[in-house]
């Protein structure tokens, strides 16, 4: 059951990213623009005839009106779609919200929230050069146009991802795998099908649903690849329940070996590098770093930590409270303060979202700043990461691949800056990730030991060759 119900055939293209992208690719730019104008006109007409559709512009998370997604043609469904919308966005084309404004002036106009939300739409599609960054999804857009049964656990997980309730490569991967176990257990092989072939297809829309909530994490992608491999080798003779149990066991093993146990081994390797009296700097929140620091403290090592944090997610606060609870003396600072403190730091511990094939680290935005500054001051930078986060990607900058955080978090109205949001010439960019070049990293602490970043590709090649897996880009 799809989560959204398009209002009418005219809007189907826009609210149906998958089909829409395919169709769009075949149209030229001019044709796309034309299509869009038609859609906008149709929507304006629909709004005129149905004033209750004004509620579509409100940014309510529990929005019941899934009928007309707020950001219809402007939602970043794909590069071809966005460039078309962006070009047309530059012209002062009336937006659906503004239409509603004109149509129902007696209703007191739109309230400030509406106006901000609406401008956010406009602004977002003005940021053309960042159009390829995925942006946070509204309720109505999760799972838009995905055909197939979506398991309720997956629906809930998608919501949690979109609301940033579950963040972090490890957390998201584990949550996804646990959800998949439920999905697999509830799965019934259709007649005349084999589990080995059908289950993968059954899982595809589930995965697409999660991706529509938030772009796939590298850790999640690697885990899915592993799962699909295990599904594909299930023998036809194995009874269904046994096969399902076996797959759930494989999932448990993956989590246990590649994440949980790997973290224990990383702890052992990182431990000798923490001397008594050390001053350790860390950024935002990494589950591995947090674990290593708390473990070192409980083993009697005495050191202090400087937790560096940044807006808008302020994940460092979670790290800070966990460390303080363990009794570790901490200093909390924002990323703009690191310059003053770096000369007192003996060691920098960082986490990672993904490690690329050339040894560069893709991690929370701000990590690269900390690593760069540390390197300049000859402070060793240790990136703690399990090997399952390896990606065969070759990324040279933070620009080609990234994700945007929700706009409203950056300029909070309570700070009194809300009026800035109404400026049409203001563009707001809030990337969630950045890339740290391998030259700024001293050592990668993985479960196979301390390795220089340049050696990670050898390692990954070996590991997967043993299993006969091909690493997809």
């Amino acid at each position: 059951m799809s989560a959204t119900e398009p209002a009418g055939p005219a809007l189907e293209d826009a609210s149906n990213p998958q089909d829409g992208v395919q169709t769009r690719k075949q149209l030229t730019k001019a044709e796309r623009r034309e299509l869009q104008e038609r859609q906008r006109a149709a929507k304006a007409a629909a709004t005129a005839s149905n004033p209750s559709n004004k509620s579509q512009n409100q940014k309510t998370p529990q929005s019941q009106s899934n009928k007309q997604p707020k950001k219809d043609p402007t939602s970043v469904a794909g590069p071809s779609g966005s460039s078309a919308t962006a070009t047309s966005g530059k012209k002062p084309t009336p937006k659906p919200g503004r239409d509603a404004d004109k149509i129902a002036p007696g209703a007191g106009g739109m309230d400030k929230g509406d106006k901000i939300a609406d401008l956010e739409t406009q602004r977002r599609h003005q940021t053309r050069i960042f159009a390829h960054f995925a942006s946070p999804k509204q309720d109505a857009q999760i799972g838009a146009g995905i055909k197939g049964e979506i398991h309720p656990t997956i629906v809930r997980l998608g919501r949690q991802f979109a609301d940033m309730k579950i963040v972090g490569a490890n957390a998201r991967c584990i949550a996804m795998l646990v959800a998949f176990k439920a999905v697999i257990q509830d799965y019934v092989t259709p007649p005349n099908q084999t589990l080995a072939r059908d289950l993968t297809q059954y899982l595809s829309p589930q995965i697409s649903y999660l991706v529509s909530a938030r772009p796939m994490a590298v850790s999640m992608g690697n885990a899915i690849r592993e799962l699909k491999y295990h599904i594909s080798v299930v023998s036809i003779d194995v009874p269904e329940q046994d096969a399902k149990d076996h797959l759930c066991e494989q999932i448990d093993t993956y989590i246990s070996h590649r994440i949980v146990l790997a973290d224990s081994v990383i702890e052992e390797y990182a431990m000798p590098k923490i001397q008594n009296g050390a001053v350790i700097m860390t950024f935002a929140r990494s589950s591995v770093v947090e674990r290593v620091l708390i473990s070192a403290w409980s083993r009697g090592k005495r050191f202090s930590v400087k937790v560096v944090d940044s807006a808008p997610l302020s994940e460092g606060r979670k790290m800070l409270s966990a460390l303080l609870k363990a009794g570790i003396p901490c200093t909390y600072l924002l990323v703009n303060g690191i310059g003053s403190l770096i000369s007192t730091v003996s060691l920098v511990f960082l986490g990672a979202h993904a490690i690329n094939s050339n040894g560069s680290v893709y991690s929370r935005a701000g990590t690269a700043l900390v690593a760069m500054l540390a390197k300049e001051h000859s402070v060793p930078v240790l990136v703690l990461s399990e090997t399952y986060k390896y990606s065969n990607n070759l990324q040279l900058d933070s620009f080609t691949k990234n994700e945007l955080a929700a706009l409203s978090d950056t300029l909070q109205p309570p700070n009194g800056q809300g009026h800035l949001l109404s400026q049409s010439s203001l563009q707001i960019i809030n990337p969630l990730y950045d890339l740290t070049p391998h030259t700024h990293i001293t050592v990668l602490v993985t479960e196979v030991g301390l390795i220089p970043p340049s050696a990670i590709s050898t390692l990954a090649g070996l590991r997967d060759k043993d299993k006969g897996l091909q690493l997809a880009v």
């Binding site: 202090s304 000369s343 050592v443 030991g449 301390l450 390795i451 050696a455 043993d466």
Partner: protein
């Protein structure tokens, strides 16, 4: 200083090591391997597990005994351990297992000259006619390579640093001049002065570490950094048994470092203003340690180990040209040269860049684990 084992068996690993290391052709890691192999030959245990434990035990004792200079020795022990744990085809044949190891190590020790020749052949193309080479201390591999080039008729001249405090550069000088290669000893502090006249820097090492850097006699890091500044290539010659999975983050992260090295004497009255001492609870990075006593590890720097150098004419007679013993004890014996200052490593496994070392080590260790 022979101490009896606590495990009950009568094998004395330290004494065995000492007997093997006396051979001038045998380096520390190979002597370590030979002594461990001797342990296996003489052991009374009957299971694989007990044997591995005995080997691990002996290796730890050896390393601890030579902790001030144990990096190459550690490397040798680790290579040996990895070698025996990777032997799979013996199953229940315990005696066969033991004799295979013993034979392998014996062959290894006999082939050290061959290994050095392999390396010399690799580096041959890089020693050009009429070139000036700078080297540090005494490395058998380097001397072998230089002699080989010389014997092929190439005209080379060599600068060698004095390499205080052990003065091993003087030994290199003796050997090279005896064979007819022009060689001059330069002060350790004259390397910057000399560097522009040098074509290549060629050094051996105690160990190659995971980062692709090396651990070598103190002074190597300085030479490498200067060579880097002057754009001269730094070539390291290293046998593959010297490779270790250590990863030092800095000089003070080496296993040979301890609190006594680079520490300060606590003079008569402690500083009252507290400007130099750290406030409690605010540790500073690399803050020097204040020591209240002059105790130093017993093996470092006895009076006899400081070599006698020819008296320098310009010094006044009242001033000694050797630092006081208690100061000498605060100095390190080896340093770590980071991979960014090393151009190429010449090994019996081939010619590798510093980045390639780790790939090789990772491959080797994964293979032995599986």
């Amino acid at each position: 200083m022979a101490h009896k084992e606590t495990t009950g068996s009568k094998f004395d690993i330290i004494a065995a090591y000492k007997s093997f290391v006396n051979d001038p052709d045998i380096s520390m890691p190979v002597a370590a391997m030979q002594s461990l192999s001797e342990l296996i030959a003489q052991t009374e245990v009957a299971t694989m597990f007990e044997l591995m434990e005995a080997v691990k035990d002996a290796a730890t004792r050896l390393k601890r005994h030579y902790s001030h200079n144990s990096v190459s020795l550690s490397a040798g022990c680790d290579v040996f351990y990895q070698f025996i744990s990777s032997l799979r085809d013996f199953g229940q044949d315990f005696e066969g297992f033991k004799s295979h190891i013993i034979a392998a190590v014996r062959e290894y020790a006999q082939n050290t000259k061959q290994v050095k020749d392999t390396i010399a052949n690799h580096v041959d193309a890089f020693i050009q006619d009429d070139s000036v080479i700078l080297t540090h201390g005494y490395s058998r591999v380097v001397v072998n390579a230089l002699l080989m080039a010389h014997n092929k008729g190439r005209r080379i001249s060599v600068y060698v640093t004095e390499t205080r405090p052990r003065g091993l550069g003087i030994k290199t000088h003796e050997i090279l001049t005896a064979k007819g290669i022009p060689c001059t000893i330069i002060l350790d502090s004259a390397v910057a002065y000399t560097m522009e006249k040098v074509d290549i820097v060629m050094v051996g090492c105690e160990a190659v570490v995971e980062s692709g850097g090396i651990v070598n006699a103190i002074g190597s890091c300085q030479i490498a950094m200067l060579a880097h500044a002057f754009h001269k290539p730094v070539h390291v010659l290293a046998e593959s048994y010297k490779w270790t999975r250590l990863f030092p983050l800095s000089q003070y992260d080496l296993p040979t470092h301890n609190d006594h090295i680079l520490s300060f004497d606590l003079v008569s009255t402690p500083p009252t203003s507290g400007t130099n001492s750290p406030l409690p609870g605010t540790p500073r990075r690399h803050h020097p340690v204040l020591r209240t006593s002059d105790t130093m590890p017993s093996l470092l720097f006895t009076a006899t180990s400081v070599p006698k150098v020819p008296p320098q004419p310009s010094f006044s007679s009242s001033m000694s040209n050797v630092m006081p013993i208690n100061q000498a004890g605060r100095n390190p014996e080896v340093d770590y040269t980071p991979p960014e200052y090393i151009t190429l490593l010449f090994t019996d496994a081939g010619i590798l860049t510093p980045e390639g070392i780790s790939s090789y080590l990772v491959t080797m260790s994964l293979r032995s684990e599986s």
